[in-house]
């Protein structure tokens, strides 16, 4: 299709922008607060179990009008020793 190089339709921009704005309006959660929540979560979980901090993602998902916080926290396998050294980030 020749449309590939045309600018994105403005209605699509409107929809994408609104999707993000509405998440923050509905939850009263700013992107910065979400980041700090993520850091706290990583710290807490790391005290109990070995995780890869760089691979953690946390997002607000919506289903109809209800919102949920979805965190994806990959665990390190036990064999993966080098990540255990103190002071080292992702392995």
């Amino acid at each position: 299709m020749g449309f590939l190089f045309r600018r994105k339709k403005s209605a699509n921009s409107a929809k994408e922008r609104l999707q993000l704005v509405l998440i923050h309006d509905r939850t009263d959660l700013t992107p910065a607060e979400l980041e700090s929540l993520k850091d706290d979560l990583i710290q807490t979980i790391s005290r109990h179990i070995d995780i890869d901090p760089m691979a953690v993602t946390i997002n607000v998902a919506h289903d109809g009008r209800s919102q949920r916080l979805v965190a994806d926290i990959p665990l390190r396998t036990v064999g993966h020793r080098r990540g255990r050294e103190p002071g080292r980030a992702a392995g």
Binding site: K9, A11, A14, K15, L22, G64, R65
Partner: protein, 261 residues
């Protein structure tokens, strides 16, 4: 008679609340229903001019609430439709002149007299809006297919849920099918995706709305225009009828649904 109280709200101003209240009230009255509409926009009244009843105001909403007249005396009867009445807003007072419980009391008294009470909420989410939804059995949220109106509608829908006045029913006003087709306007489907509420009406952009307001003759008085027809359909849906959305309205929705696969 026990009236149903329907409030029309939007958050953002200028999306067409007053026009819709006038037309939905006219449409219901033209179907043999007894209707009173109340202008909830104290200090900025407009429902009277849209209905063409501005020269007949003697008493207003605040006069009733403060006991200067009886309810009946503030109800202006529309001569074109004998079952249509208007209770105008006061023009020289502000929103704090009445409280939510005043509105509940007033509507309880009115409920015995009519089939429908349609309340025009002011823009915003403050006192005037709280007054307007206090007595509502159902709230219609108006929006336009445009970012600021959709965002504000979402706020209003959220507040209605929190105040247990939900679920709201959505009216999308001023939809331009040609712009939607070009990809330069949010479609009905886009708006429903974003707001996730029930749809009760789609009103196309129509120059006749301005002509009708110039004359004080709401479009729904004659069912010939597209917008007039859309308001008639909203009235029928409120009455519990299953009415398909207008051809022109749904064309793009179907195209998009088919195009998605």
């Amino acid at each position: 008679m026990t009236a149903k109280v329907v409030t029309v709200a939007s958050g953002k101003g200028g999306v067409g609340k007053t026009t819709s209240v006038a037309n939905i009230a006219v449409a219901l009255a033209s179907r043999g229903q007894k209707v009173t509409c109340i202008d909830g926009d104290i200090g900025l009244r407009n429902l009277d001019v849209i209905l063409g009843l501005e020269n007949r105001i003697v008493y207003d909403l605040v006069d009733v609430i403060e006991g200067r007249c009886r309810l009946r005396q503030a109800m202006i009867r529309d001569k074109r439709l004998p079952d249509l009445y208007l209770i105008p807003a006061a023009q020289t007072r502000d929103k704090t002149a009445i409280s939510p419980s005043d509105m509940v009391r007033l509507c309880d008294e009115l409920r015995q007299e009519v089939d429908w009470i349609i309340i025009d909420s002011p823009a915003g989410i403050e006192r005037g809006f709280k007054n307007a939804i206090a007595a509502a059995d159902r709230v219609l949220v108006m929006t336009n297919p445009e970012v600021s109106a959709v965002r504000d509608a979402d706020r209003v829908i959220g507040i209605l849920d929190a105040e247990e006045k939900g679920p709201a029913a959505l009216v999308i006003n001023r939809l331009d099918p040609a712009m939607v087709k070009r990809g330069d306007m949010l479609s009905v489907e886009d708006v429903l995706d974003l707001l996730a509420v029930e749809l009760i009406g789609i009103v196309p952009e129509d120059e006749n709305v301005i002509v009708a307001s110039n004359r004080g003759q709401p479009l729904a008085l004659e069912g010939k225009t597209k917008a007039g027809q859309a308001f008639q359909n909203i009235a029928r849906r409120l009455m519990g009828e299953q009415v398909p959305f207008l051809e022109l309205e749904t064309q793009n929705l179907f195209q998009r649904l088919l195009g998605r696969k």
